[in-house]
Symmetry: C2
Subunit: 298 residues, 2 copies
C-alpha cells in the first residue's frame, strides 16, 4: 500500500477487451492477479477482502457490477445503492491496480441465453425464497472470472452459501482460479456489515443486531451439547419477538455440504435470514464439533 496512489486516478476498465489487455500485460511481466468481485456500495467488509487480495497477489482488480441476473423482478435491483465515485475513493488508498466496471450491455448480449445451475450446496436456505439468486450469482461470477482470469478471487464468508456455491462451480467447471474467503466484518454491536444496512431506519438498526446475537446464542447452546432443534426454535422465537417478519430460515447445517443437521456430527454452520421492515438481513457463524465430542453431556 502506498499513499502515492491517492494522488493518481485509479484506472477503470469498461470493456472485457480493455480488462484483458491490462491483465495480459501483467501476465507477460510474470505478475500474479487477484480479483475481488463486488456490486459496489463498498463498506469495511469489502475493503477487508481487498486488503487480503493485496496481501496475496502482485496485482488487484476490483469489479463493480450490480448484476441484474441475481435480482428477481420484485427485488431491489433498481434501488440497490450505486456509489461508484465514492467506491473508487475508498479503494485508492488500498493499492488497487484496476477497477472493472462494465455496463450491463457489455455483460449480457441481447440474445444472451446461457445459464449455470449449481446443485447440491445451492439447495435450501436462500434458494427457498430466492430461487433465481444462485443461478444469477454463478453466472456473473463465472463470467467475471473468465473475463479476468485471475490467479485468486476473494469472497466474503457473510454470504456463506454463496461462497460454497462458487467453490463448487469453480471445481466442477475447472475454472482456473483459487477461491479465498474473508471473515465477516461486523459493527461494534455485532451486526454483520452489509450494503443493505443503509435501508434500515434508526429503530430497525437498533433491533437488527438481534440476528447476530440470536445466531451466537445458538452456537453457544449447540457447542455445549444442546439440542439443535430446541436451540433453533428458541432462536426463531427471539427473532420474531424482536420484530423480524418473516424469518426466511434459521438452520444448523454441515459446514461443507450445507445439509441440515439435527445432531452435531461434524463441523457446522448456523445460518439465518430474516426481514426487518423492507430489509432482508442474513448472517452465519461457524459451530465447532470438537467441544461437543469431547464433552457430550456438558
Amino acid at each position: 500500500m502506498t499513499l502515492d496512489n491517492t494522488s493518481f486516478a485509479l484506472p477503470v476498465a469498461r470493456t472485457v477487451e480493455s480488462l484483458r489487455n491490462v491483465v495480459s500485460r501483467w501476465r507477460q511481466d510474470g505478475e500474479s492477479v487477484a480479483l475481488v468481485p463486488t456490486m459496489g456500495a463498498l463498506h469495511r467488509g469489502h475493503l477487508a477482502l481487498v486488503e487480503k487480495a493485496r496481501a496475496n497477489s502482485d496485482r488487484v482488480v476490483v469489479s463493480i457490477f450490480v448484476n441484474p441476473a441475481q435480482f428477481a423482478a420484485h427485488e431491489d435491483f433498481g434501488d440497490y445503492p450505486r456509489t461508484e465515485r465514492e467506491d473508487i475513493e475508498k479503494l485508492k488508498p488500498l493499492g488497487v491496480d484496476l477497477i472493472y466496471g462494465p455496463a450491463a450491455s457489455e455483460m449480457y448480449e441481447p440474445d444472451f441465453s446461457t445459464s449455470i445451475v449449481v446443485g447440491g450446496v445451492s439447495e435450501g436456505l436462500c434458494t427457498v425464497t430466492r430461487p433465481h439468486f444462485f443461478g444469477g450469482v454463478a453466472l456473473v461470477v463465472a463470467k467475471l472470472l473468465l473475463q479476468c482470469l485471475p490467479d485468486i478471487a476473494i469472497f466474503g464468508e457473510k454470504d456463506y452459501q454463496q461462497l460454497l456455491v462458487i467453490r463448487r462451480m469453480v471445481r466442477d467447471l475447472n475454472i482456473p482460479v483459487e477461491i479465498l474467503s474473508g471473515p465477516t466484518e461486523r459493527e461494534k454491536d455485532g451486526l454483520a456489515i452489509s450494503s443493505r444496512n443503509v435501508y434500515l431506519s434508526g429503530q430497525e438498526r437498533a433491533r437488527a443486531v438481534e440476528i447476530s446475537r440470536t445466531l451466537k446464542e445458538i452456537v453457544v447452546a449447540v457447542e455445549r451439547g444442546g439440542d439443535i432443534r430446541s436451540a433453533l426454535a428458541a432462536g426463531e422465537a427471539r427473532l420474531k419477538k424482536a420484530g423480524f417478519d418473516p424469518v426466511d430460515y434459521l438452520e444448523v447445517c454441515d459446514a461443507v455440504t450445507l445439509e441440515p443437521l439435527t445432531d452435531l456430527t461434524c463441523d457446522a454452520r448456523v445460518l439465518g435470514a430474516a426481514h426487518l421492515g423492507q430489509t432482508r438481513l442474513i448472517d452465519n457463524f461457524p459451530i465447532s464439533s470438537a467441544g461437543s465430542r469431547r464433552n457430550p453431556d456438558v
Copy 2:
C-alpha cells in the same frame, strides 16, 4: 507435419494437472495452442479438424473422452466405439503434440452438481428427441476448454447445431477461446463420415446415402425458389421410402439462430436426423439465400 513424429510415442496426459503443466510450458515459450475435442473412434472427419488445428497453431492437443453426460440411459454410451490405441496411431503422422485422455473420475467428482443450459440455438432439432444432449455437450466442452485453455478449439460442421450451441456458450460465458469449424467430410457417395457409421449393416450402408442426397435435393429446390414446406415434405417421403424410421426431423433453419424458416429470407441450413435400423444419422447443408433473392421466380 514431420514423419519423425511417427518414431516417437505420442504423450498422453491423463489428469488436468498434467495437461495444464504441459500447456503452461508452451505458454511460457510464447507458443499458441489448439484443442480438438473428440470422443475418439477417429475418422477422416476428425483428422481434417486436426490438420486445421495444426495449420493454425504452434501446438495441437487432441482430447479423447467419451462423455457420459451427453448420453441418455437408453443410448449407446456402453457400445460407443473405444479405439484409443488406433486413434493415437492415426494422430501420430499429423504432428499432434499431446493426447488428453482423462478417466471419467478425473472429469466428474462423485458429488459433481453443476450444469450448463444453453437456450436459443439448442432448442428444437436434436433437442426434441435428445433433451439431455446439449447440456452434456456444453458441460464437457466448457470443462475441456477451461482445463486446457487453448487459443483456438475446432469443431465439425457435421454437428451444426452443436457447433452453434458451443459458440453461444463460449460467447455468453466469456470463455477465452476462438471457435473454428471444419466442413463435413464425406464418403465418395456423399454419406457424412461419422463414428456411428460402423453400426450400419452392409444393406443399411447402401441406403444411408439417401439422407445426404435428400438434403442436397432440398438445397437445390429451395435455392431455385421452391416452397420450403413442399421440399421438406418430399424429402421426408423420400427418406421413409428408403427405410429411415423414424425421421426425427427435417428442417430448413436460419443459419445463425436456427429458427425454422418457411421462406428463404436469410442464409439458411437444411438439417436432418433419421434412424436406419439401430443407427441414428444426422447431416446438414448450407442454403444460400443469394440466388433466391436475385431470381425469386426461378
